[in-house]
């Protein structure tokens, strides 16, 4: 049944309108640079998504579902978009593109993610994912004809295409095994290896496409290159929002409670991802590359919650998705402010940040401690939820590896703080920080602390949402 009810998809419609305006701006001569309104519009979108009804209703012939989970992810995609576009307002060099182009593609990618949050049919999921990815492919090389950026983009496109192809191939297996591609029907199917080996293999292959977006080992190799190659503003986007899309789909599909084989594979990937990501990050000197490897490690943590499954596991993974986004947006916000003429930031550029900009140094410290997982920041509480659910599921070894990884990770995150607070630069760098930029940095840091101190309401909401998709 079509069941088209425009009221339910107001956030999506709002995004379409936003895209339409940006499109007109990008082809006109005079309006290309007046894009200051986009972050504000994105915030309005977030409010629309947050207050829209989440009844669990199906639309478009059961391929689209409006439920708590989808509205949560739509809200945080909008919020993320607001910060990313706000971050990119003063982006310097875009090569041949203009700002309206840049914002158009960024918003288009976010639009794909909005759709992804609600899609509950495998082919629709695939299409929404491609919409989000293709816009991102175009976005990456926008960096003043930088060769590294182009290289990063090509890497991302080629490997991304292969990952998508594998995912699509997986769908064919699922279709062959279970004779349906609708998530609500698949939910009640048997997903054990003994009964449905083909479908289970198909599901694993389908997962791979999303593990690639999530930069989980062994599909992580693009992340450091893309982070390093893309401009700071683009990297802030590529590092955060696309992962939300991957996580929401993984949450929906892990609700199938697939056989132990898939879970074991994912758990091993997660363990390897954390350990490898943290170990390699130890020796990085480029901050964005370092964050690339850190994101590989964090992907492992999210997967831990997904492997644990159950209402708590899925809710914990979703909560960590939010935490991950906020932590990374915060640290990227700082990096973008520190960078000189949009260049990459090396560890040594952080020296003496304390004296040149105390605000940025403080925000950097908060986000770095959050990334380690130190209380009272969001990073800790998010990890605690994940560890609880993983232990509850009996994956003791993964919990041990996860906590030991905190000890591995502490050095390189602390190194950021150490450079900012205890080392001095010979020639103090000038940092131009507008009052607005400073206050948004503070708001983001407070957000990191808020999610760490008062997580109960959001978590309770997510718990309800994930219980909803399990039944």
């Amino acid at each position: 049944m079509l069941n088209f009810n425009p009221q339910l998809i107001i956030p999506e419609l709002f995004m379409v309108a936003l895209l339409a305006v940006l499109f007109i701006q990008s082809i006109s001569r005079r309006l290309t640079d007046s894009i200051d309104w986009v972050p504000v519009a994105a915030l309005i979108g977030a409010a629309l998504a947050a207050f829209s009804p989440a009844s669990g209703e199906y639309m478009f012939y059961d391929s689209y579902r409006i439920d708590g989970l989808s509205q949560f992810f739509k809200t945080i995609v909008f919020l993320g978009l607001a910060v990313c576009t706000g971050n990119a307002l003063r982006i310097g060099s875009l090569g041949k593109a203009n700002k309206a182009d840049y914002f158009f593609f960024m918003s288009m990618s976010a639009f794909g993610l909005l759709l992804l949050s609600s899609t509950v049919e495998l082919f629709t999921i695939f299409l929404a994912m491609e919409l989000a990815s293709f816009s991102l492919y175009i976005l990456l090389p926008f960096r003043n004809d930088d060769r590294q950026a182009v290289e990063a983009a090509i890497k991302y496109v080629l490997f991304g295409a292969v990952a998508s192809a594998i995912g699509l191939y997986g769908v064919s297996y699922i279709l062959a095994g279970q004779h349906t591609t609708y998530v609500n029907e698949l939910l009640n199917m048997d997903w054990s290896f003994a009964q449905q080996p083909m479908a289970l293999i198909g599901l694993t292959l389908f997962f791979l496409a999303f593990l690639y977006k999530l930069a989980l080992f062994p599909f992580h190799f693009w992340a450091p290159d893309v982070y390093q190659g893309a401009s700071n503003e683009t990297a802030a986007f590529a590092a955060t929002l696309p992962k939300l899309g991957a996580i929401v789909i993984m949450v929906r599909l892990m609700a199938f409670n697939p056989g132990l084989e898939v879970k074991t594979v994912l758990a091993v990937f997660a363990a390897a991802s954390m350990t490898l990501g943290n170990l390699i990050a130890l020796i990085q000197t480029d901050v964005k590359r370092l964050l690339g490897y850190s994101s590989v490690a964090h992907a492992g943590f999210v997967i831990m919650g997904l492997v644990a499954g159950g209402a708590h596991g899925l809710a914990a993974a979703s909560y960590y998705a939010l935490v991950y986004m906020v932590m990374n947006l915060t640290i990227f916000w700082v990096i973008t402010r520190i960078s000189k003429d949009g260049k990459n930031v090396a560890l040594s550029d952080l020296k003496g940040l304390y004296s040149t900009s105390p605000v940025l140094a403080f925000v950097l410290a908060v986000s770095a401690f959050a990334l380690v997982g130190l209380p009272p920041t969001a990073g800790f509480i998010g990890k605690l939820f994940l560890l609880n659910s993983a232990w509850e599921a009996g994956i003791y070894w993964l919990v041990i590896i996860a906590v030991v990884n905190t000890a591995l990770a502490i050095f390189y995150y602390l190194n950021l703080v150490r450079h900012a607070y205890t080392l001095d630069q010979d020639v103090p760098a000038k940092i131009s920080l507008s009052p607005l930029g400073a206050s948004i940095a503070i708001i983001l840091a407070l957000g990191v602390l808020y999610l760490g101190v008062v997580p109960q309401n959001i978590y309770a909401f997510l718990l309800k949402a994930s219980t909803g998709i399990l039944s």
């Binding site: 409670n257 132990l260 879970k263 074991t264 758990a267 492997v307 499954g309 159950g310 209402a311 708590h312 596991g313 809710a315 410290a365 401690f369 130190l374 209380p375 009272p376 800790f380 509480i381 605690l384 939820f385 560890l387 609880n388 659910s389 232990w391 509850e392 599921a393 009996g394 994956i395 003791y396 070894w397 919990v399 041990i400 906590v403 030991v404 905190t406 000890a407 502490i410 050095f411 602390l414 150490r418 607070y421 205890t422 080392l423 997580p455 109960q456 978590y459 309770a460 718990l463 994930s466 219980t467 399990l470 039944s471």
Partner: protein, 545 residues
């Protein structure tokens, strides 16, 4: 039982935090100093009801505050103090004004941030000693690392970067497995509440590895012998106030952890590991003392002496005797006072000679008589001269130790003698060594008198009349031992390996898991807490099927 209805502990915890926020809006170094001093004095006044009103007849937790916090995971905001923690809370609060005063001149740059860190430290430390929820405890436990790291890394000596990093990595790495143990406790019992966890019974094997995970965190914090290497580095590089906080409060968190978690929650494992812990304690005493004997840097000397002192405390805890435990807790307090004061004295002389080497600080007795007097007093207290507080608490530990093992008592005495040796060496050189470099140095000024006098009075008061302080401890220790003896027995009888550590994924999630996960904190998980024979349950039985 002291229960005011007013959230006194929360006020004690969050008042400094609030003040720290206000601090950001102040201008001028002097204003910041005065403001923090005033705040610290207000904090001291706030803590007075705890000192005067503390009910010394009950072992129950007092000033309890309990509010639901993260309900889906059964995490509570749960505070309370008993005889084991009350002295540490008092010590933490009273050290704050002393830390502010001793940094008055020493800290010349980034003054505001320095006091910000001091206030944060106070918040975290009081939180650690009063938290009764495991998650809340862990939050304070880890959060404390950040201001301490900054205190060493920003205002420290020449090798501060190395020392601060070592401190951070060491202590954080130690507590990671502790987190895993906390999670395991929760999944097994369905609660993070420490008093409830104490009433549960766990299988021996489960106790063994949770004890190890917790003990690693605490042993590093104490620090016990093989894990002590971060301490001298951190102490030497930290500013005076940082050293005082490290020695007086931070180290106590380790022994407090043993008393609060290891003994009551994992009694059988505590008995099992007691020989190891005692061995490490004795090694800490002997090796720490010998190392202290060989130092030429005064701060390093006192740092190593801390290792030895904490060895005494560990010994007192793991003989499981009433006097031993009493002495251990008293010595935690006394060591906090004495070593804090010794670090203050080193900081004081450093401000004059700009060196911490013994040979640069020879023969000050003639020129700085007041300073020498205090040095004499605190050194005597440190090696346990009768009439000082150090004597009394060591005597109690010795009583406990002798009762349990004669030979251990002999080793203990050797440790005492070594302690006397290194402190006399310090005292002789600084007081009467030649050639004297002291002419021209000024004796203690008013500010320095102000912050040393209270400590000096405490040394004598607690040495002559320790009854009041001891009365705080009695019921709690008794209760601890009664519980301990009872549950120790049960466990040595029932050594069923109910909770091995499986190294594989367990195929147990049925489709009903969503609902089962929901019920995590409902009645299914709650064992009648009071029945002592609610023996270790298979942790998973209540889930899924």
């Amino acid at each position: 039982m002291l229960n005011t209805g007013f959230p006194l502990l929360s006020t004690l915890i969050f008042f400094p935090l609030l003040a720290a926020v206000v601090l950001f809006f102040l201008r001028g170094d002097h204003t910041v100093r005065v403001f923090t001093l005033v705040i610290s004095l207000i904090e001291c006044i706030l803590v007075l009801p705890v000192m005067t009103g503390f009910d010394t007849t009950t072992a129950q937790f007092q000033l309890v505050e309990k509010t639901a916090w993260i309900e889906p995971w059964n995490i509570y905001y749960y505070l309370g103090i008993d005889g084991i923690s009350v002295l540490m809370v008092l010590l933490t609060v009273f050290l704050l004004p002393i830390c502010v005063l001793c940094s008055w001149k020493y800290i010349g740059q980034r003054v505001k941030e320095f006091h910000f860190c001091l206030l944060l430290m106070t918040t975290a430390c009081i939180g650690i000693f009063s938290a009764l929820d495991f998650v809340l405890f862990y939050i304070f436990w880890e959060a404390m690392l950040i201001p301490m790291y900054l205190l060493i890394a920003v205002w420290g000596g020449p090798r501060r970067r190395y020392a601060s990093l070592k401190f951070f990595i060491y202590t954080l790495a130690g507590s990671t497995l502790f987190l895993a143990a906390i999670v395991a406790f929760f999944i097994n019992t369905g609660t993070f509440s420490i008093p409830e966890l104490m009433e549960h019974r766990y299988s021996f094997q489960f106790q063994l590895w949770t004890f190890m995970a917790m003990a690693l965190a605490f042993a590093i914090k104490v620090p016990m012998y093989p894990f002590h290497t971060w301490l001298p580095a951190a102490h030497v590089e930290a500013p005076t106030a940082g050293s005082v906080l490290l020695a007086s409060i931070l180290l106590k968190m380790g022994t407090y952890g043993f008393l609060r978690f290891c003994l009551p929650i994992t009694p059988a494992a505590s008995v099992f590991f007691a020989p190891l812990m005692i061995g490490m304690g004795v090694l800490s005493i002997i090796v720490g003392s010998l190392l202290a004997l060989g130092q030429s840097d005064m701060k390093k000397l006192i740092a190593y002496s801390s290792v030895a002192h904490m060895g005494f405390v560990t010994l007192g805890i793991f003989v499981f005797a009433f006097r031993g435990l009493e002495g251990a807790i008293m010595h935690m307090l006394n060591h906090g006072i004495i070593t804090g004061a010794l670090f203050l004295l080193v900081g004081l002389i450093y401000e004059r000679s700009h060196s911490r080497e013994l040979e640069d600080n020879l023969g000050v007795s003639k020129h700085l008589p007041a300073f020498t007097g205090f040095l004499l007093l605190f050194s005597m207290a440190a090696f346990g001269f009768p009439g000082t507080n150090g004597f009394f608490s060591k005597l109690l530990i010795l009583l406990g130790v002798f009762k349990v093992n004669y030979w251990l008592g002999v080793l203990f005495v050797v440790g005492l003698l070594l302690g006397m040796a290194y402190l006399l060496r310090l005292l002789l050189n600084v007081g009467w060594g030649t050639p004297s470099k002291a002419p021209g140095w000024k004796d203690m000024n008013f500010r320095e008198w102000v912050y040393l006098i209270p400590l000096g009075l405490m040394v004598i008061y607690l040495g002559v009349a320790p009854g009041r302080a001891l009365s705080f401890l009695g019921p709690s220790i008794e209760n601890l031992l009664v519980q301990f003896e009872a549950s120790k027995e049960i466990h040595l009888e029932a050594q069923t390996p109910e909770h091995p550590l499986p190294l594989a994924l367990m195929p147990r999630h049925g489709t009903a898991e969503g609902i089962a996960g929901q019920q995590l904190n409902t009645a299914a998980f709650d064992v009648p807490a009071s029945s002592p024979y609610s023996l270790p349950r298979e942790p998973k039985s209540m889930v899924a099927d």
